[in-house]
């Protein structure tokens, strides 16, 4: 039951993370499903918790003005087009 409660709590936390993001195209013949991709953070175990922590930390730093609101992401493999996004 503890495991169940913590999973639910983590799910609630994660589901608030992905507001206000801008658009770009994912490269795959298969639609991975946005919700299913987000769920993979939760399913990633401790590595997922660390990633969620980084997402929140970035959001907090943006909020208090310590991090730029816009940043660029490029993918070394070329699988992702470079797009800006903010307030993760």
């Amino acid at each position: 039951m503890l495991k169940l409660t913590s999973s639910l709590a983590f799910l609630l936390v994660i589901s608030t993370l992905f507001f206000g993001m801008t658009t770009s195209q994912a490269h795959a013949y298969l639609d991975p499903g946005t919700g299913s991709m987000i769920l993979q953070v939760i399913l990633g175990g401790f590595a997922g918790i660390a990633l969620a922590g980084r997402l929140y930390w970035h959001r907090f730093r943006t909020f208090i003005g310590m991090a730029p609101a816009e940043s660029h992401v490029g993918d070394e493999t070329g699988h992702e087009s470079s797009k800006s996004r903010s307030d993760l």
Binding site: L4, T23, G35, I42, G45, A47, H58, V73, D75
Partner: protein, 484 residues
């Protein structure tokens, strides 16, 4: 999604330098544009895009590929002659799969083993910084009871920050069908046959009870996934890019895959007893009669070597094993999923025959042509016609239980061009009496004389014998050249 059938349906031609040689495209191989299957002169090829060729060259360098091919869990593949597809960047040649089957014909154990193979290949790929781009059981076929992964271009390099794109598909086509049977006792096969992309998370959630939320995997893989999909449906947010930026890496995928493997391995199909699952103990023959029937089948099977044999209504496969001594491949079919599950598990635990493929098939409602243009998934007979077909203790079920006219059934067998070992079960047999006990007897065609006349009309009867003191009659008959 691809199929490596040795018996392609006629389809569009692709270009080739050598005039006069027919090349046939596999109509079920089109979803991934990077590599599609075609047939030429009885061999199976795959044309590759430049990207797929680069991926193949990288795959060849991985430490797992050679071992997996040698062990039979990845289809044996080599560089093909580029002349057979001059427009492609590269060509692969694959070994033949003896008989193509689909997950809606597999038992629970087969779908489970296919899922475990997929997850094991994911782990192998991830260890080499590659991944499987999709996650569909249609990429897995069978050599007997051994699952074989056939879609080489599915292996691609893992991009930085890339999530597991195939995760949702894995759930819809592997995990949810298994959960449906394990947790709700519902046969998954009609769900897979009914929708080529499997069971969506939202539908799966509606199929689960509140209590099921406590069962392993349901809360996250079903309920949470369904909720998150609803929430982000139709959105234009670049979640993939955000994940990459936040440092999503393969450790998360490895964790997910490892936990999914443990979850899938623990699922069981439930232990209800079905009508025929203990056939070996409950059939209506005494030992001497049974041995007489087995000897007749053995003599018929030994008359020549058969490329492909079908055993229709095979129960737990006793006669399939006899025929397998003289056949390259036996497809053992029965509508009773638990009888087929027993056959599969017993074969797997034993010598692990590569000759015997067990499938759940109801002859009166066998798998149709379906998917795009009705050609993506093929009906049973289009995947390879048998040279020998066993119909033992079957005809009374076809005529009385399924209400199929006897002449129709014999005509269908003749249209396959197959030899048959067929048993007529008389009206005084207790099995027929049980079938007639509570239904109107409208079966004027169901008499031994009529059966023999219909059989003789379409086949040459080579041998026949009474069984069970004359209550049954067994025949070995070969097709007339003019038949079909």
């Amino acid at each position: 999604m691809n199929e490596l059938s040795g018996h392609p349906a006629p389809e569009a031609r692709v270009s080739g330098r050598e005039a006069g040689l027919r090349t046939q495209r596999e109509p079920g191989s089109f979803r991934d544009r990077n590599g599609s299957v075609f047939y030429r002169d009885g061999a199976i090829f795959r044309s590759l895009s430049p990207e797929a060729l680069a991926n193949w060259q990288r795959l060849r360098e991985t430490p797992f590929l050679a071992g997996r091919m040698a062990g039979g869990s990845i289809v044996e593949t080599r560089d093909g002659d580029v002349a057979v597809a001059p427009d492609a960047a590269g060509v692969l040649e694959h070994a033949r799969i003896p008989f193509v089957s689909y997950p809606y014909e597999w038992t629970f154990g087969m779908l489970q083993d296919a899922a475990l193979l997929h997850l094991d290949l994911m782990r192998d790929a991830l260890a080499s910084d590659m991944i499987l781009k999709d996650a569909t059981p249609y990429n897995i076929q069978w050599q007997g009871v051994h699952p074989v992964f056939i879609d080489i271009p599915s292996f691609e390099p893992l991009g930085r920050g890339q999530p597991w794109v195939g995760y949702r598909q894995f759930c819809e086509l592997f995990l949810y069908p298994l959960m449906l049977q394990a947790y709700r006792g519902i046969d998954f096969r009609p769900w897979l046959r009914g929708r080529i992309d499997g069971i969506p998370a939202e539908d799966m959630q509606r199929l689960m009870s509140t209590r099921d939320l406590l069962r392993p995997g349901v809360l996250l893989h079903v309920a949470a996934q369904s909720a998150l999909q609803r929430r982000y449906e139709g959105g234009t947010k670049d979640v993939r890019g955000s994940l990459a930026e936040a440092g999503f890496d393969k450790a998360l995928i490895v964790n997910n895959v490892t936990k999914l493997r443990a979850l899938v391995a623990k699922l069981t199909p439930g232990r209800e007893k079905t009508q025929w699952s203990d056939y070996d103990r409950s059939h209506s023959y005494d030992a001497a009669d049974f041995e007489q029937k087995a000897a007749f089948v053995r003599r018929a099977a030994a008359t020549r070597d058969w490329r492909l044999a079908w055993d229709l209504g095979c129960n737990t496969g006793t006669f399939s094993r006899i025929v397998a001594e003289h056949a390259e491949q036996v497809v053992s079919m029965d509508a009773d999923w638990m009888a087929i599950e027993h056959l599969y598990q017993r074969e797997k635990a034993g010598a692990g025959s590569r000759k015997l493929l067990p499938l759940v098939v109801n002859l009166a409602d066998a798998s149709p042509n379906q998917g795009w243009r009705g050609a993506e998934r093929k009906g049973l007979a289009e995947r390879g016609r048998p040279e020998l077909t066993l119909c033992l203790a079957l005809v009374h079920h076809v005529v009385i239980t399924a209400n199929i006219p006897l002449a129709d059934f014999i005509g269908w067998l003749a249209s396959l061009g197959t030899a048959v070992v067929i048993e007529f079960v008389g009206r005084d047999d207790e099995m027929v009496q049980a079938l007639l006990a509570n239904r109107e007897d409208q079966y004027d065609d169901y008499h031994p004389e009529n059966f023999r006349a219909l059989l003789a009309e379409r086949f040459d009867i080579r041998a026949e014998e009474p069984l069970k003191g004359g209550r049954r009659q067994i025949y070995f008959a070969e097709p007339r050249q003019a038949a079909g």
